[in-house]
Amino acid sequence: MGTVTADVRSGRGVAVVTIAAPETRNALSTELLTSLADVIDGLDRDPAVHAIVLTGGPKLFAAGADVKQLREMSPVEYAASGRAACWQRLGAVATPLVAAVAGFALGGGCELALAADLVVTADTAVFGQPEVKLGLVPGAGGTQRWARAAGRFAAAGVVLTGRTVDAFEARDLGLVHRIVPAERLVEAAVAVAASIAANGPLAVRAARSAVRRAEELPLAAALEYERQQLLLMLGSDDHVEGINALLEKRAPHFTGS
């Protein structure tokens, strides 16, 4: 089945979650997906964790769903498997998520990366939704998140043909924040996550929530949501500390209150 481990780097406010199922190329079986959702849920509730890096290590992110398991599943069994609930739990995480992708991020692996807030990749990264080649369709957000992130036509080019996209094309499409050498992938992603974690935690969560609303709300409603978040932040201690620190030319000490 493989394992999902969490390494909390408390000094930086960052947790690194590593999927390790090398025998199945990190295929997201129901069991592995459940472990992943459990681990990330736990970190989401940890007040010391302000950003999460999700990785499969320097060689491979996740090569998709466990196709052997899928082959044996009836529609009813799939619906009862809890996979959809796992994806919903992952989508409901409030802590900023940085995907660190090397090698294949295909099918469910690609959907997992697209569920993150930022994607840092090795130059070896390959993204794709090959489900149609198996007579299936993406079922964990692939069609929707590709379209929202890269536009409908770019999404169709990937989802309808099953072709893959390398790290550079993915960056051109707006999916990738930064490309780094594979050997430096996790540390570079941790550095990006730490730069998020160093900011006011309430503000980061509010800003993240507002950015995500861009995918869900009409513009007027999303702008109103953004204004509401600003009003909330104006009532926080963190915003007073942030402005004082700027004026006093020192690093802020945010308390998340």
Partner: protein, 163 residues
């Protein structure tokens, strides 16, 4: 010697590759071969009567050499199949690329003048490319070809951590 002489099946973990090719002709597998060649520090030595594949081979190599008897004739089909209209201008500039594509059969002097081939000892060059630092530089060049200056600099900052 720190480099390896490779056959097509023998690419794994070689520090550098020395490819000797005479009478190069376009065929199945050429594109895949060239892509793999781009990813390793490589020296290519081309000789004899070749089609446009010789130019693609030299452009894909880290360092290219030609023997004095080389002649390269460009045919449209293989030039298009190999993507030479994009890779050659990127490698040697648009004007020089056009001179090679439209100038008729190119001899060793013309290929060397274009910059696709250099003078010197290929085996010494391959030994230099077998140094770990050469692999880092090649990675940097490959990424830079697809990146803005700032993106390339960020990548290089991370590469320097590997030294």
């Amino acid at each position: 010697m720190g480099f390896s002489r490779l056959v097509l099946e023998d690419w794994s973990s070689a520090p550098s590759a020395l490819v000797e090719a005479r009478g190069v002709r376009f065929g199945d597998g050429a594109i895949k071969f060239l892509r793999r060649l781009e990813a390793v520090p490589s020296v290519v030595v081309v000789g004899g009567e070749c089609d446009a594949s010789a130019l693609a081979l030299l452009a894909s190599a880290t360092l290219g050499f030609v023997t004095d008897d080389v002649t390269v004739s460009v045919d449209v089909d293989s030039a298009l199949a190999l993507g030479l209209t994009s890779t050659l201008p990127a490698a040697i500039g648009g004007a020089t690329a056009r001179a090679l594509l439209f100038g008729g059969p190119a001899d060793a002097t013309a290929v060397r003048r274009s910059g696709l081939a250099i003078d010197g000892d290929p085996e010494e060059a391959a030994a230099r490319l077998a140094e770990p630092a050469a692999a880092l530089l090649l990675r940097s060049l490959r990424v830079a070809a697809h990146s803005t200056r700032d993106q390339a600099r960020q990548y290089d900052d991370e590469l320097r951590q590997l030294r």
